[in-house]
Symmetry: C2
């Protein structure tokens, strides 16, 4: 996490430095890959937060098969983090009050403009024209809408490469649990 | 392909514009995701070429399960291409003379420096120190070494999003075959 935080700081001047690609496995074992935005770590643990639309295909796919691998390439420092782990889908139907609270917190942490996306049409639905692009107004004090879904990826293994120094490190989590994690690092050939 | 070529041209001033993330599925259905470099289209078709090390884990995984999805995000034009298709692994053991010729062509198309990588240690092997980083010399006229492997991804579906214009298009290939492809486009909600 310290290494990732350093890369985030070093690349903070680039808007796209918080973008990464999340790979999951869909129906029929088809790999799926899309760009998503880093929404910070969950409090008191290393889980990576991602906002998404509960109506997108990936939600059903992730519920079926919750494994994911993030590929995060920092274009300025030439560092790549491949972070694999288990993804938790937290929508409004969650029965865990702590998770619902995290979802609410993540909702209010995102901009009002980004919240208003969840009031638009379902993603991926055919459109005949651009009539669906309307100004939607959202009450800034209103809690998460149904279409808003928080994903958290709990890292288990990280494959780190620095293409400037030509160094590669494999990190493996040696302890399970939310509170804190122990990581083992091994230097491998790039 | 025309849309992708336009994005490549528009982002050509960025070194990383030819980098994309390739997702595949590994052992036990684990998604795997890594940054690779676009090495052009194969001649007379839309197959996307990628150079890789035959000794890397992904080769065995792709032979087992040849489905892949590329996620290619252009950081300057805010365009994303998600390209899914079947991957062909072409190493020196291929029995198809046409494929061996493609591999040789792709080998000579890459820089001498990038060719010399395939003479280094196997990727991902533990290293105790940096003694393995030696100057390797490669004869610029010598053909592909054993460790050099060409991957080609044959696109079947492309999910295109332009985040500036907020437009999304789904392209589906309607005709199979190497020689030429017909594509159907549908406008969908972003």
């Amino acid at each position: 996490r310290a290494l990732l935080q350093r890369a985030l700081d070093a690349n903070a001047h680039l808007k796209h430095s918080t973008f990464f690609q999340l790979a999951t496995v869909g129906g029929g074992g088809r790999p799926a890959n899309r760009t998503v935005v880093f929404r910070g770590f969950q409090e008191q643990c290393d889980k990576i937060q991602i906002n998404t639309d509960a109506r997108s295909n990936k939600i059903g796919e992730i519920r079926e098969w919750p494994l994911g691998e993030i590929c995060w390439y920092f274009t300025d420092s030439w560092e790549q983090f491949r972070i694999s782990g288990i993804i938790d889908v937290i929508d409004g139907s969650s029965l865990d009050p702590a998770k619902l609270q995290q979802r609410e917190k993540a909702w209010f942490a995102s901009s009002v403009k980004s919240r208003s996306q969840y009031l638009g049409q379902s993603p991926g639905v055919p459109v005949a024209n651009d009539d669906h692009i309307k100004d939607v107004h959202i009450d800034p004090s209103a809690g998460p809408v149904d279409a808003y879904c928080l994903l958290t990826l709990d890292p288990e293994k990280v494959d780190y490469v620095n293409l400037k120094s030509n160094q590669r490190l494999m990190f493996t989590r040696t302890q399970e649990g939310d509170e804190f994690n122990d990581w083992m690092a091994e230097k491998v050939s790039p």
